[in-house]
Symmetry: C2
């Protein structure tokens, strides 16, 4: 069966996946940019912005693996945008411009219904109001045998972890401290949830670890 | 002034410095051995048990730095032994045999007074019953200009961190999950405490980070 997986999820040394105070100008929260330093220079990331340069190597390998064999995404609403509560209108279409980097169906968790949005390049945003299980069901159907990538944010990943639904997590631990924000691990017992570390590759800008859940 | 520093402190990916259920047979708690894999094979560690072999390289460099320029140690009582409450007698002298690896004065935090113990090789255990500030004062005096190494465990380090007294921490993040136990970071804002990551060296068995507090 296709896996529900987290890939390329950047984490601070103290376990935070985003800084505090997310806003339109600062989608990753205070200090959050530094978390992702490892990916910005990779060939895979540069290609997303239409550039034909960028580094190969460990970081790029993980970035590329993150996109391989993905047939659908699930995002928490805060990852889709800074708007909270009711959608004021249909104008917000994500952080990523007209041609988002997903190129497949993306299921956005929200309490507020909204019509699907077809973007350029094959990305369609669907808004799911009936919970994480429903979103996973729809994503699995859409993925058609490929994996479902759980994009985040932290709160969304934690919900899926607690429900025992995440099969695999690739985390990139960056050499920064955030001090506060959303902690991925707090109060979660990953061992009890069945995870163990099956891969550990250290690079100068991040340490990559893959955690796998025993079926 | 001499620094109060944590060195070679092994941490799991999920932020635990020891597993649950410490006991005489399992001083590092359940699963805790795996945390320290990186150090066992090093030349520095092997030398402690009188062996003349062991690996050099990144892990060994950090292990050796941990012992360099240290004039005194501070340990929490649980690091000294598994006994809780009153000392039943004078027989327990630590986990380390007759010649402990400290070779300098070691101040053990406890609520229960006990006479100092002079061991072979220059280690003397002193028992401090009047709190962390008093222990630091005595350790600083004894260190005579050298650094004071705060050995742990997690609860002791957290107390010194919260009091703003730790100058530097070298953590070795191991590719293991512990799931529960004592979490080093929970509820602590290291950024607010003035720390930033000043060194990041990744090796196959652990990622070494040095966190420094701005004075």
């Amino acid at each position: 069966m296709s896996k529900l997986r987290v890939s390329c999820f950047s984490l601070s040394l103290d376990g935070y996946g985003a800084g505090p105070d997310q806003s339109l100008g600062n989608p990753l929260g205070a200090g959050g940019e530094a978390l992702h330093e490892w990916v910005f220079g990779t060939r895979t990331f540069r290609k997303m912005s239409g550039k034909d340069d960028g580094a190969t190597g460990i970081d790029n390998d993980f970035a590329a693996r993150g996109f391989a064999d993905v047939g659908a995404w699930i995002l928490g609403r805060n990852m889709f945008g800074p708007i909270r509560g009711e959608w004021p209108d249909e104008s917000w279409k994500g952080w990523w411009g007209d041609n988002p980097p997903y190129h497949c169906p993306v299921f956005v968790l929200t309490h507020h219904p909204r019509a699907s949005i077809a973007m350029q390049g094959g990305t369609t945003f669907h808004f799911v109001t009936d919970g994480i299980h429903a979103a996973l069901r729809r994503a699995r159907e859409a993925a058609n045998g490929l994996d479902i990538r759980l994009g985040g944010g932290v709160a969304t990943i934690r919900q899926y972890l607690q429900a025992g639904l995440v099969d695999e997590m690739h985390l990139a631990v960056s050499p920064v401290l955030l001090g506060s924000g959303e902690n991925l691990f707090a109060g979660l017992d990953l061992l009890q949830l069945g995870f163990s570390c099956v891969e550990h590759v250290a690079a100068p800008k991040a340490t990559h670890v893959v955690l796998m859940r025993q079926g």
